[in-house]
Amino acid sequence: MKICIVSSVGGHLTEVRMLKAAYSEYDHFFVLNDKCSLPPDMKGRTCFIRHSERDWLFFVNLAEAFSILRKERPDVILSTGAGPAVPFALVGRLLFRCTVIFVETFTRIDAPSLTGRIMYRLAHRFYYQWESLAAYFPQGVHCGPLI
């Protein structure tokens, strides 16, 4: 079992690292969209992609996702967002038969994020933290606050 954890740096990375108790017993690696100083448990298991902000770099990310997933062949793609989750979920699901698991971010309470709305269509398992989002994600699972 190998897990590819895709994340933006900053708050999303802090959030997905809260899932460590679930992913750490399995082989895993990280994909980040910006350089940042890495904590010890991420050193040597992190690669970086270009930072796209809903622009043409999205297509670069698709190519980067293909290259990384072909090399690593993870079974699962896990993310709490933001944008980088989408190219990995697309390529992973369509070309490499990855299981995609997405957790909508803690900070979306009344309305979902754009990434969340897209990932709801792409994920095999979709979790959301606040009950107030239930109507947006009828097939999703309400898991309560992660933090």
Partner: protein, 165 residues
């Protein structure tokens, strides 16, 4: 009592908060050492220490160790504080003050305050009372000791996938 103040990395300045912090340090409401992460805000003070930007690990350390936290109501700062078991004072940036483009910090602050996870200071004049309330309610309980249901969900998902291999 040490204090850590952060305005985040936004390009817009947040002088309203930092001028208020300067006043609190000068008037003795904040008694101990104060570190202000000022980002892109032009700010100097003889009463506090300043840093422009702080790397993630050091930021987490300040969040963990400072007695008082006063943070802009940005998602990243809030997540880090809550993940480290803290109850921070958060100050939403306001669009009408040119501090941010929209109301999302205000909305986030109100909802998290209702959920009992943060103390929100909407006006900087509220800061002294908010600091007191945060001190009362801040349990400093590490998130590992409050297991989240998502961990059980995920463990089950992953175990099922392993079994199916």
């Amino acid at each position: 009592m040490s204090a850590f103040v952060s305005v985040g990395n936004a390009t817009q300045p947040f002088r309203r908060l930092l001028d208020a912090v300067d006043h609190l340090a000068r008037s003795g409401v904040l008694t101990g050492p104060v570190l202000v992460q000022r980002g892109n805000t032009l700010f100097e003070s003889a009463y506090v220490e300043t840093a422009d930007f702080i790397p993630m690990e050091e930021f987490s350390r300040h969040i963990l160790e400072s007695d008082i936290l006063i943070l802009q109501a940005g998602a990243g700062s809030i997540i880090t504080a809550l993940a480290n078991g803290r109850m921070p004072v958060i100050v939403p940036r306001r669009p009408e003050c040119g501090e941010i483009v929209d109301h999302h910090q205000l909305t986030l602050a109100r909802r998290l305050e209702t959920a009992g996870r943060v103390i929100a200071a909407y006006e900087v004049g509220d800061l002294p009372s908010c600091i007191l309330r945060a001190r009362e309610h801040d349990r400093r309980e590490k998130a590992e000791n409050r297991p989240a249901r998502i961990i059980e969900h995920l463990k089950r998902d992953l175990q099922q996938l392993v079994s199916a291999q």
